[in-house]
């Protein structure tokens, strides 16, 4: 059987290569100090989808929700062999929390329609919540397995996966369609193919072209003409906005987000006092009671 996969990916600030102050004074992320990259775990999710396609056939569609320049990760997906990519881009999507994001993504997935497996990375390195994948599964009302390290077996109706847990693994069997969140240790993501880079380096999403023409008011980028040219060459990346996926403004972006960030601060743990304990029964008993009453043990 062939399997149709959808991979949900995110462009994130590269928190490993920080070039300046990573945070603004108000506690928000200073994106200009952080180069934007393909979220590392999402590359593992894409790799798992691509190798599944290589083994059984089928298609791999990739979706990202993000500002115009986030289309770069969609090109990166095309360079690695994705069949189709979709850019969810709309000002109304901005400042979405994980719930609004999951809702937006699930609406787009419903628009695509048929699929067998949805792959997500385990978590994104910016928010580190690991919530979007599970919430998408809930919205779609399909089973989910998080922390997947390997697909052990798959057939028409069911899938068996190896799931990473503390101190070991568990093997889980569930029904298709399913949503999997993939571990960074699951595989070695492939590098871009030179031929596909040469093919898709000029691919653009409508959101990107629009942003480009708005940013350079002086340049005479003709929006429709550019779109048609790209379409002719099969280089137009589809852009879907809230209307395309039938989403009300109140359900996405800041408006659709119940999460409220009150304050972000950097917590540093340090030892303040040192206590010496005698090596005898009573002293150790005393220490244990103290730790229990401080809720450190218990």
């Amino acid at each position: 059987m062939k399997y149709n996969s959808i991979v949900l990916i995110k462009q994130v600030p590269d928190t490993k290569n920080i070039t300046g102050e990573a945070m603004h004074e108000d506690g928000t992320v200073n994106r200009s100090a952080l180069p934007a990259i393909f979220n590392p775990d999402d590359l593992n999710a894409l790799e798992m989808a691509l190798s599944l396609r290589e083994k059984f056939g089928g298609t791999v569609k990739v979706i990202t929700m993000g500002p115009p320049f986030a289309a770069e990760v969609l090109r990166e997906s095309l360079y690695r062999g994705a069949d189709e990519v979709i850019h969810l881009s709309d000002r109304r999507f901005a400042a979405a929390d994980t719930l609004a994001t999951a809702y937006t993504l699930s609406k787009a997935i419903k628009k695509i329609g048929e699929y067998n497996i949805i792959f997500c990375g385990r978590q994104a390195i910016d928010g580190d919540t690991a919530q979007v994948g599970p919430q998408v599964a809930a919205k779609l009302d399909i089973p989910q397995v998080t922390f997947v390290d390997k697909i052990e077996q798959i057939d028409d109706n069911s899938i068996t996966v190896k799931r990473s847990i503390e101190n070991g693994y568990e093997i889980i069997q569930t029904k298709l369609p399913v949503l999997l969140t993939v571990m960074g240790t699951a595989n070695e993501p492939r590098y871009p193919s030179c031929k596909l880079v040469m093919k898709y380096k000029k691919a653009r999403s409508a959101a990107e072209i629009k942003a480009e023409s708005e940013n350079n008011k002086d340049s005479n980028i003709n929006f429709n003409e550019t779109i048609n040219k790209l379409k002719k060459k099969n280089l137009l990346i589809q852009t879907w906005d809230a209307d395309n996926i039938g989403l009300d403004a109140s359900e996405c972006g800041a408006q659709g987000s119940p999460t409220w960030v009150a304050k972000i601060s950097s917590v540093q743990l340090e030892s303040k006092e040192i206590k010496n304990i005698e090596s005898n029964y009573n002293s150790i008993k005393e220490l244990i009671s103290e730790l229990i009453s401080d809720h450190i043990l218990g």
Partner: protein, 573 residues
């Protein structure tokens, strides 16, 4: 790990500085493939952008994926199990990554699945990969084998095998050396007999020291003309690695341990003739060897680069006597010399591959030339470039490989006792570098290959061109010095020519070759200095340091001193 292409400013400089426009236009034949192949370039700038992007992918794979695996690849080596060669795990994984990124047929035309890039790009690839793992280069870097099939085999063989080469579905080997035919390939004995019944050739005999002899496709040099004993009785054959071919052993080597060096026995192995009979050694193998020699020069360079980065890192971290060791003149002197050696070698080898690319383009132009006048001019140009390529190729192979041994030696020196230990990469680089001045023709043979061209004035065209250019400001005084150096080159060359003593010439040939290289690199640097302040400093340092060496070598040559030749036996007692 860094990207081995993006992090190397000097490669970027060479890439920008070499004039590739004409090469690209001819190779792309007016970009006529742009409508037939989804990945074909549309114009010169697009092509350059594609080269850069492809090399950036190679640099990412090399830095990120291959280099971290290299110590383990080296420790594991290749193994022979039940007659089959097993690559080190990391080597096989690296090979698969490179294959998946379409980097196995860089110069092969698109209709056979390749990228149709010029040699300069495949050479950058070799440098980058060798910096990550020298032994991997022997399997992915020697793409000249496919190139040889493309240039000389008939259409049937090309259609069948070239797509396999460029997709990386197969690996290959060139089987030339035999137990009694090493440097002297004319002595090859492996027998090829035409089997009338099955309508194909059959190979019988033994090959030795065959790099990747376990490869799926082999190009084999064999004696097809019974009763002959020289080069004219040899032809080139293509065969598949099947059960009739036995891998008798693989060698246990000093370096490049993961590159399997095989001894092969052919037992009635089915083979196809490549090109015409009797042209095996004199034409096809010579062409293949020249390609391979350029490859080894870039491999040697890549290894040296790896060692240099290790050394500079260590010198910046290690503290002794209360400061970083890089602060000590004796230490930074070594490091600067290493850097100068690497950059100056790069100027030489990138120029060499540019010459090879130009030659290829001119030959292509000749094929499509329409009128006789045009053909006549092209033929003359080709003749000059052909001679130049045949001379600068051995010069590059000789110089880069010897440089690699010097630089890797110095990298260990910077590390002190630590560098002698297996835990540090420089130990591996030192071992890996050593083969480069031996295989594909020893340094001594490169000197033999180059000296004829040098003495017949092949280099003079290049030198005249450089010395007649205008150099302003600070470069003016350097160029005046170079005029003197050039005249010393001429004096030495004339002396050898007029002396007409073959043994004397052979004895002093290496010194003559050294003068040639010193003058050549000096001129290349002088030219680069026109556009780069960094290169200006480099040119000053190199020229001022090499001038005394040029004078010294010239003095030796024109001394007429034959005492060492005469007293050989006594001195060796």
């Amino acid at each position: 790990m860094p990207n081995f292409f993006d992090d190397n400013e000097d490669i970027q400089f060479q890439f920008k500085n070499l004039d590739l426009d004409e090469i690209i236009r001819i190779r792309e034949d007016n970009f006529k493939e742009k409508d037939n192949f989804y990945y074909a370039s549309e114009n010169v700038e697009d092509a350059k952008d594609n080269y850069r992007r492809a090399m950036s992918i190679a640099g990412q794979i090399a830095g990120d994926y291959v280099a971290p695996r290299a110590p383990e690849i080296d420790a594991e080596g290749s193994k022979l199990v039940d007659g089959k060669v097993i690559y080190a795990k990391g080597l096989q994984e690296s090979l698969d990554m490179i294959k998946n990124s379409d980097l196995m047929g860089i110069t092969i035309p698109r209709k056979y699945g390749g990228l149709n890039f010029p040699y300069i790009v495949s050479s950058i690839f070799i440098e980058i990969i060798s910096r990550a793992d020298a032994s991997l280069m022997n399997i992915v870097g020697l793409q000249d084998i496919g190139e040889t099939v493309y240039k000389f085999a008939d259409d049937e063989l090309k259609d069948k095998y070239l797509p396999l080469f460029s997709s990386g579905k197969i690996t290959s080997a060139m089987a030339l050396t035999e137990p009694d035919a090493g440097s002297d390939l004319q002595a090859v004995q492996l027998k090829a007999v035409y089997d009338e019944q099955s309508g194909c050739w059959r190979l019988n005999g033994v090959k030795r020291f065959i790099t990747n002899g376990c490869g799926d496709i082999l190009l084999v040099l064999a004696r097809s003309e019974e009763g002959t004993t020289d080069a004219r009785g040899l032809s080139l054959f293509l065969c598949e690695n099947d059960d009739s071919m036995k891998i008798r052993r693989i060698e246990n080597k000093l370096g490049i341990k993961a590159s399997p060096t095989c001894e092969l026995q052919f037992n009635n192995t089915t083979a196809h003739l490549v090109g015409k009979r009797k042209f095996g050694l004199i034409k096809y193998v010579m062409s293949m060897m020249n390609g391979a020699r350029v490859g080894i020069a870039f491999q040697a360079l890549g290894i040296a680069v790896a060692a240099y980065y290790e050394a500079i890192k260590y010198a910046n971290e290690r503290e002794q006597f209360g400061k970083k060791i890089i602060e000590f003149p004796a230490v930074y002197d070594i490091l600067i010399n290493m850097k100068v050696e690497i950059e100056t070698t790069r100027s030489l080898v990138y120029r060499t591959v540019w010459v090879v690319d130009m030659l290829e383009c001119l030959e292509k132009n000749l094929k499509s030339a329409e009128n006789d006048d045009e053909k006549k001019i092209l033929r003359k140009k080709i003749k000059n470039f052909d001679k130049l390529a045949a001379t600068v190729t051995p010069l590059s192979k000789y110089y880069a490989s010897e440089m690699s041994s010097r630089v890797t030696y110095d990298a260990i020196q910077i590390h002190g006792g630590t560098g002698y230990m297996k835990e540090f990469n420089v130990e591996r680089h030192y071992r890996d570098a050593r083969i480069t001045s031996i295989y594909e023709g020893t340094s001594q043979l490169q000197v033999v290959a180059a000296i004829g061209g040098i003495l017949s004035g092949v280099m003079n065209i290049e030198f005249d061109n450089f010395s007649s250019q205008e150099y302003d400001g600070d470069l003016k005084s350097l160029s005046d010095k170079m005029k003197k150096a050039y005249s010393k080159f001429q004096t030495a060359a004339n002396y050898l020519k007029e002396k007409k003593n073959p043994e004397y010439t052979e004895f002093y040939a290496r010194k003559m070759v050294d003068i040639t290289i010193d003058v050549y690199i000096s001129y290349l640097l002088l030219n680069e200095a026109k556009v780069s302040e960094h290169k200006k400093l480099l040119a000053e340092k190199f020229i001022n340091e090499r001038l005394p060496r040029i004078s010294m070598n010239e003095e030796y040559i024109i001394s007429g001193d034959e005492s060492t030749i005469k007293n050989r036996d006594e001195l060796l007692k």
